[in-house]
């Protein structure tokens, strides 16, 4: 098509040199509409005919925004009569602007200026009324065209000459499965230009344009019915449904300019000159650019949900076919040496959605966020490639470390099942680096204990004992018993002890009082025995009287009575040494008289007197 255009221009240029005199330069402003709704695009075309155009000044499109412009030359006609050139194609130049009104109101577009054959000419102005958006555009009834040729009705391209068709490669995919939508332009007429404003919003899909970057259009021929069409795949989009259910794909709108071969009636007076039966039909075929809006058909896709029953917990929505590879560049390193771990997922499917793996690195490793590299190719068949996550790990202390494997789960479309890929486990041995003395010095600083998590303490497994709810030791019967028991015991103890002591002291007193009496009685008895001259019982009685007296008087138990204990007691009671000795010698004499066969040095009368004497003295002393 371009080629023909070039040839055409070449011819035109040759003809310009001829520069026919009857050609009158003209500039025409054309607009199909007089009323345009807000924000809807329309086109204004300036056509310059009848001369060599050297410059063109476009009007200032105030209150409009220019969204597109194109210019073309050619379209003029060349006429040969009897082998002689009668009319040269004057080189029709057209400037077309696509305008979008920005505010409501009635506006006049200024005249465009053109320098044709070294003369400035001006077009007429165009008045456009901009209405509320939503209203329909009204065709201009007073067309501003002053074109000297009027096009006949068949300049409009027929619908079956050119149409747009959308197709999908599958209608019943799974969530996340790739669906390719192809927009094909079928045409039987040349297309000068086409433009896609924007792709429809693919709601419910994650989309990727596959034609982006591919300059070459796929073109081929296809015969539908009897007609042969040229087919161009103008747009191909890979869609990944994000939810289940019926999803609609909105139609695509394409604005295109087609070249329509139309029959033209020349109103030019010069043409009339030739317009006589001699020439037969005065119709000449000419090509004109016609603007056309094409809509594709709407599509609907029924998306299936992925099976839930056997879905692993680690599944994150990856659908397709993938392989996993994970590598580590060294398994033995020194502290502070960088270690690189790369984790790579390769395959076809929704690669874009793959999230970074959740590796658990040892806490002694300094880690950074991974460097993510996507090597994804968008070909006409869909999306494939790889996604690599590169981790940089810096071990800060020596030891053996393990990086646990991570799982990657995807839904395999060919087997309709979930596949779990597992990365290998890495064992890394870190030795202490030689050249990191600075860090070893700093690492001498004791580290604080790292608290990984805080949690409550564990339950108590040893139960002391249960108590009844609402019953307390304090105030209970047991409490009062325990409180009073020591007091009662103490009191009892004191009372009993006191009583006993009192009793004991009474006995001593009685004995003390009776001591003299008892001794007298014994001595009296001894006196009687003396008279009867019974030596043995007499001495016995005197002996008992002396011991008994001391025992009662000094409160010494009979069992403890010895000469030593008696002399000690005498000392305690402050009895003079003389008396003590006297008493003891009397005792000795008495004993001696009892056991000595000769009766001793003293007579029994003397012993009797001595005993009476000592008891009397004692009586005095102890008072």
């Amino acid at each position: 098509m371009k080629k023909t255009k070039y040839i055409f221009s070449f011819i035109l240029l040759c003809l310009i040199g001829v520069n026919l005199i009857y050609g009158q330069a003209k500039i025409t402003a054309t607009c199909k509409y007089s009323k345009v709704p807000l924000n809807s695009a329309f086109q204004v075309t300036y056509t310059i005919t009848g001369g060599t155009l050297s410059s063109f000044v476009k009007p200032s499109f105030k209150n409009f925004s220019v969204t597109g412009s194109y210019q073309s030359s050619g379209g003029g006609m060349t006429l040969y009569v009897n082998g002689k050139l009668v009319q040269g194609g004057d080189g029709e130049a057209t400037y077309t602007y696509t305008l979008v009104p920005t505010t409501i109101g009635k506006y006049t577009i200024d005249a465009a200026k053109a320098k044709v054959n070294n003369e400035w000419i001006e077009s007429e102005t165009i008045t456009i009324e901009v209405t509320n958006s939503g209203s329909t555009a009204t065709a201009s009834n007073n067309s501003k065209t002053t074109k000297n040729t009027t096009t006949t009705s068949n300049t409009e391209a027929a619908d079956n000459d050119i149409f747009l068709k959308a197709s999908i490669d599958k209608t019943n995919p799974y969530i996340g499965e790739q669906v390719i939508v192809t927009y094909k332009l079928y045409t039987r007429i040349p297309v000068a230009q086409y433009g896609i404003d924007k792709l429809p919003a693919f709601t419910g899909f994650w989309s990727q344009d596959l034609t982006k970057g591919n300059d070459k259009l796929v073109q081929y021929s296809e015969t539908i019915g009897n007609a042969k069409y040229t087919v161009a795949e103008i747009r191909k989009v890979a869609l990944f449904p994000q939810k289940s259910g019926v999803l609609k794909i909105e139609p695509l709108n394409v604005e295109c300019i087609v070249q329509v071969t139309s029959k033209q009636k020349n109103n030019d007076p010069f043409a009339d000159f030739f317009n006589d039966p001699f020439f037969g039909s005065s119709f000449f075929n000419t090509v004109s650019n016609v603007e056309k809006t094409l809509n594709s058909n709407a599509l609907s896709i029924n998306v299936k949900a992925l099976p839930v029953s056997n879905q692993p917990a680690e599944f994150e929505g990856s659908v397709g076919k993938f392989t996993l590879s994970a590598e580590i560049d060294k398994t033995e390193a020194k502290t502070n040496d960088a270690i690189k771990l790369s984790y790579k997922i390769t395959g076809t499917g929704n690669l874009y959605l793959i999230e970074k793996p959740d590796f658990e690195f040892p806490s002694d490793f300094e880690t950074y966020d991974p460097d993510i590299k996507e090597n994804i190719s968008t070909t006409a068949t869909g999306i494939s490639g790889s996604k690599t996550f590169s981790y940089l790990l810096i071990p800060r202390s020596a030891g053996s470390f393990t990086i646990k494997p991570v799982n990657f789960v995807y839904f395999d479309l060919s087997t309709k099942n979930y596949v779990t890929l597992t990365s290998p486990e890495f064992n890394i041995k870190i030795e202490k680096g030689d050249n990191d003395e600075n860090t070893t010095i700093s690492s001498v600083d004791k580290k604080d204990i790292k608290y990984l998590n805080s949690d409550i303490r564990y339950i108590k497994t040893n139960n002391s004992s249960f108590t009844k709810i609402g019953s307390h030791f304090y105030g209970s019967l047991l409490f009062f018993i325990m409180l009073l028991l020591p007091i009662v015991l103490f009191t009892l103890f004191v009372i009993v002890y006191r009583k006993k002591m009192k009793e004991n002291s009474n006995i001593a007193m009685v004995r003390n009082k009776k001591a003299t009496g008892v001794a007298r009685k014994r001595l009296k008895k001894a006196g009687l025995l003396l008279k009867e001259n019974q030596k043995e019982p007499f001495l016995d009685e005197v002996f008992k009287a002396l011991w008994g007296y001391v025992s009662d008087k000094l409160n010494i138990p009979i069992s403890e009575l010895t000469k030593d204990s008696v002399s000690e007691k005498f000392k305690e009671k402050n009895i003079s040494e003389e008396l003590s000795l006297e008493f003891l010698s009397t005792l000795n004499n008495c004993e001696y008289a009892r056991f000595a066969p000769d009766g001793g040095s003293l007579t029994i009368e003397q012993i009797y007197n001595e005993a009476i004497n000592i008891i009397t003295k004692m009586e005095k002393e102890l008072k």
Binding site: I459, K460, S464, F466, I469, F473, Y474
Partner: protein
């Protein structure tokens, strides 16, 4: 041989007579260990249903509720455990952790420092423990008194006299602490808020002014009750009325 058999049989029968409630508690502990927290809670609650309590039981129950992230219930049972055993480190620690999970953070009203010390000292033991300490002191002081009364050595008599006097004073003080703790236990009604968010009103009336909002897990003091409303006091001294249904008494 026969004798031995009889003895063994006797032992087995003694152990099989072990308290049903102890079995329930052990079942609960096992369930907790296996992370079946609801089962653990059910076992622990059955012991309480049987009318029994112990600090360990309340503590374990609080732990199980904490693991289920029911923090208000966890705080309630930790507080109950604390009431029975006020100076157990584990109970205090877990109560602190549970309190860090709740929404409200209230600055406590500062008290006169001497009063604070006194309160802290008295709160060191529950009234039951204080009572036991008191009885122990009484026995020791009586022993010294006996020594004073019956010793024949003057020095021992002198020392034991003064020791017994001092010990009697301590005994007396201890019983004052016991009574203080007991009065607090009986009259100081504290409760934990169980509703997610409660607007505290100025009077026991739905239409009265909104004063402030408290959230789940906060400990409040119940100072008065009128119908289905209760007057509460929070740690910073603010007072207001809430419905009795939104809290549980410790």
């Amino acid at each position: 041989m026969k004798k031995l058999f009889v003895i063994i049989l006797l032992f087995i029968s003694v152990f099989s007579f072990a308290d049903d409630n102890t079995i329930l508690l052990e079942k609960g502990n096992k369930a907790y260990n296996d992370k079946f927290y609801q089962e653990a809670i059910n076992n622990y609650l059955n012991v309480i249903k049987n009318g029994l309590e112990s600090p360990s039981l309340y503590y374990n129950l609080g732990n199980a509720y904490f693991k289920k992230e029911e923090y208000a219930a966890a705080i309630l049972y930790f507080e109950k455990a604390k009431k029975l055993n006020p100076n157990d480190e584990d109970i205090l620690y877990n109560l602190n952790v549970a309190n860090s999970k709740i929404v409200d953070k209230i600055d406590e009203l500062p008290e006169f420092f001497l009063l604070n010390w006194y309160n802290a000292f008295v709160s060191l033991f529950s009234f039951n423990t204080w009572a036991i300490i008191g009885i122990g002191l009484l026995v020791i002081s009586l022993a010294f008194l006996t020594l004073y009364l019956f010793s024949k050595t003057l020095r021992i008599r002198k020392i034991s006299f003064w020791v017994s006097i001092v010990l009697f004073m301590f005994t007396f003080l201890t019983f004052i602490f016991t009574q203080t703790q007991y009065t607090r236990f009986k009259t100081n009604k504290e409760a934990i808020i169980f509703a997610a968010s409660v607007t505290v009103k100025s009077s026991p009336d739905e239409k009265s002014t909104d004063l402030f909002v408290v959230h789940e897990g906060l400990k409040v003091q119940i100072t008065d009750t009128a119908g289905e409303w209760s007057e509460i006091k929070i740690a910073n001294g603010s007072v207001g009325w809430i419905k009795t249904a939104v809290f549980k008494v410790i």
